[in-house]
Symmetry: C2
Subunit: 423 residues, 2 copies
């Protein structure tokens, strides 16, 4: 089946580079991008025959967002406890909240609301932490798949240092993880990802098991790295044989080109070099990092060095799941970094932040450059007609920029995920 | 006429202190607050007789917001040009945009949209820069008054260094200012404020005229102070007789307890001391300061020292006029300051930021502490029932906190301004 999307198409094939097609044409063949054309005459005849047309008029057709790090069971605590220090926040809110996901009925209700909120706000690909509960994780995956989300969800593994209310034995953790992989084997769009919560909450035995499992079954991996300085010091105590935090993952086979590590705020040059050499992705979570006063990740420096940076909401350390907010948060955080470094580090432009929120993240899910030929379409359609009236006709580049600053859920009129129109 | 408002009342009589009345009662007498009561039995009988009841059920009744610095004619450029350096931003966007307000038809359309957006988002008191155009300034004031806003609007004065497109002679500036004061003399809720754009854009002759005028007619004053370092250096060149920026206002009688100065990012201890001694208010604009990479104002330090700090959107340096966003921006900026100062400066709590966005600003408009007896009511009513479902019943303190992080326009169901229900 051929489809033709018509509208103002803007995508970011490279970091910092936008391709803008004013009233351009995108041809889909069975949901996969077959070509982008500046005008109708350019489209090959075999594509136009019997094609279904979606004419979006003067609206903007943008790449959909990738959220490469979020905690689904923290959705009920969004925007709360932001005055608390990290450890008190974890103990008062996080662990207590996650513990409720032993209740599958509550999980179903909460995850349905979350999934709808994400897809309606234009996130179509995600890397998500569930809780340690196998059943609720399975529920989460099925709900995500049903609303049209794609990507990875992981049952969390945590067999130490996790408080009384939310823990599992090493043996339980192993057994439940294997069962969970069986549970979700039939899913098409939402796949499992190996998820040690972070080094301090996993015994060496469990880390070893998870590393081997990921390796045997070729599974991706997600965890946390160098979020704040006391955590970094703690890992040093727990793994005196490791010079740096990342090595506590590396030695168990949990640090490779299928790995995404959240935060990396305090990763120095050596740790960043290790990420480049091992092909590890960074899930930069600017809103969470400022809320929890973790620091500001040196993202512009990372990009210059060649680190794979992606963007993430990290709810509920982050207080919003809308990736257009996270995109502007990333710009603002990079400006904060510029101030912090006495105007040495450069800031992220809108085009650069858009790349990180879309193409940068998409690569972790196997995507190509921007709206790449052969990729299943992930796109959102923006109606910006209710934004403040400008004094003159705006360029598409200007409309593109202000969309991210002014967009709200209702401005996203259509969402395509993995080639399917899901909103 | 007596009215009784019933709901969950939360106000900030002091910096950092909340008073929370669960299903409390607020009595209004002709729009003025007559009393707050924990239960109906406490209310004096003469108040309950013939009183009109507004029962808001489980909703939150909060203080309405004060926005102490915004540029109304920059509304059309909201969220644009954020990648540009300050001077290019001013020349490409700001001056060109403001110049369009020579057109009163355009002004009417734009200001109507702005005024509605502000009041619907819970701002009821504001200090607003218009453009230099007398007629459009008059239009702006009348539209603000009509939708229920209160506070001050100033015709901007700028007779040098303002580009070719947007300037006035010293004589024009004086004459038009006097005419404008006559134009708006009949207004009740929106009053004039003397508005030298900032020291570099006003000749000494004009500054002298404006200072005398403000003094003779007892008018308030608004301007900019120490926003960025190159501006500070420029003022030093222009006024070699002034040790510091603030003195260029002081020497013309433009720096007193009816003055609000935007930004003060780079005000050192001596300048802050001068603000305290002269009773000057600071309009802290966290979003604008990060967008334009001006720096992060040391707000927590200012509060410790006794500076009057208020909050401001500063659109369109700021990219949103919703003061609940500015409130969380202020918290995040203070956390950025904590990071920048190696964890020395403390951050603003939610209760503290709420004070700044409400009571702190209200003082500039003659308001008392929180919902103070005798004050005309400025309040908003929040329906938070569509926020993410929590795992347990939340305390009012928790609902209060997350409101600011999660609120959107539709969550504000009612707005009271100067004792009148305007939404």
């Amino acid at each position: 089946m051929n489809e033709i999307l018509i509208g103002n198409i803007i995508h970011a094939p490279k970091f910092g580079t936008l391709e803008i097609l004013s009233r351009g044409y995108m041809v889909l063949n069975d949901g996969k991008i077959a070509g982008l054309y500046k005008n109708e005459a350019e489209i090959p005849a075999n594509y136009t025959a019997n094609a279904i047309k979606h004419d979006f008029g003067d609206k903007l057709i943008l790449q959909a967002f990738c959220d490469t790090h979020l905690h689904a069971p923290q959705y009920p605590m969004l925007g709360m406890g932001m005055d608390l220090p990290l450890l008190e926040w974890l103990n008062t809110y996080t662990f207590n909240t996650e513990a409720h996901f032993a209740n599958t009925e509550f999980a179903t209700k909460c995850y349905t609301a979350l999934a709808n909120k994400m897809i309606r706000n234009g996130t179509t690909r995600c890397c998500t932490f569930s809780s340690l509960h196998r059943e609720s994780t399975n529920i989460l995956m099925r709900i995500f798949e049903k609303v049209g989300l794609t990507g990875f969800v992981g049952k969390v593994n945590m067999d130490r240092n996790s408080g009384d209310i939310l823990t599992e034995t090493t043996e339980q953790s192993k057994t439940e993880t294997l069962k969970w992989l069986d549970d979700c084997a039939d899913l098409k769009y939402i796949k499992p990802i190996i998820t040690p919560r972070f080094t301090p909450s996993c015994t060496n035995e469990l880390m070893d098991f998870l590393g081997k499992l990921a390796n045997e079954r070729n599974l991706p991996i997600q965890s946390h790295l160098s979020e704040n300085t006391s955590e970094v010091a703690w890992v040093r105590e727990l793994h005196p044989d490791c010079k740096q935090y990342w090595e506590s993952y590396k030695k168990y086979g949990l640090f490779n080109d299928r790995t995404v590590m959240a935060h990396c705020v305090h990763s120095d040059e050596r740790e960043r070099q290790a990420m480049i050499e091992n092909g590890v992705y960074v899930a930069h979570s600017p809103d969470s990092n400022i809320n929890l006063i973790s620091g500001i990740a040196p993202v512009r420096k990372m990009m210059n060095e060649g680190v794979h940076v992606t963007l993430a909401s990290d709810i509920a350390g982050g207080s919003h799941l809308e990736m257009y907010h996270v995109l502007t948060d990333a710009i603002k955080a990079s400006k904060g970094k510029k101030i912090q470094t006495d105007y040495t580090d450069e800031f992220l432009t809108v085009a650069e932040a858009y790349y990180l929120a879309t193409t940068g993240g998409a690569k972790f899910f196997g995507g190509g450059d921007g709206f790449a030929i052969g990729d299943e379409l992930h796109a959102i359609v923006i109606d910006d007609s209710d934004f403040s009236q400008p004094v003159r006709e705006l360029t598409l580049r200007e409309r593109f920029e202000r969309s991210f600053y002014l967009m709200q859920e209702h401005n996203i009129t259509d969402v395509f995920s993995a080639g399917r129109k899901v909103i």
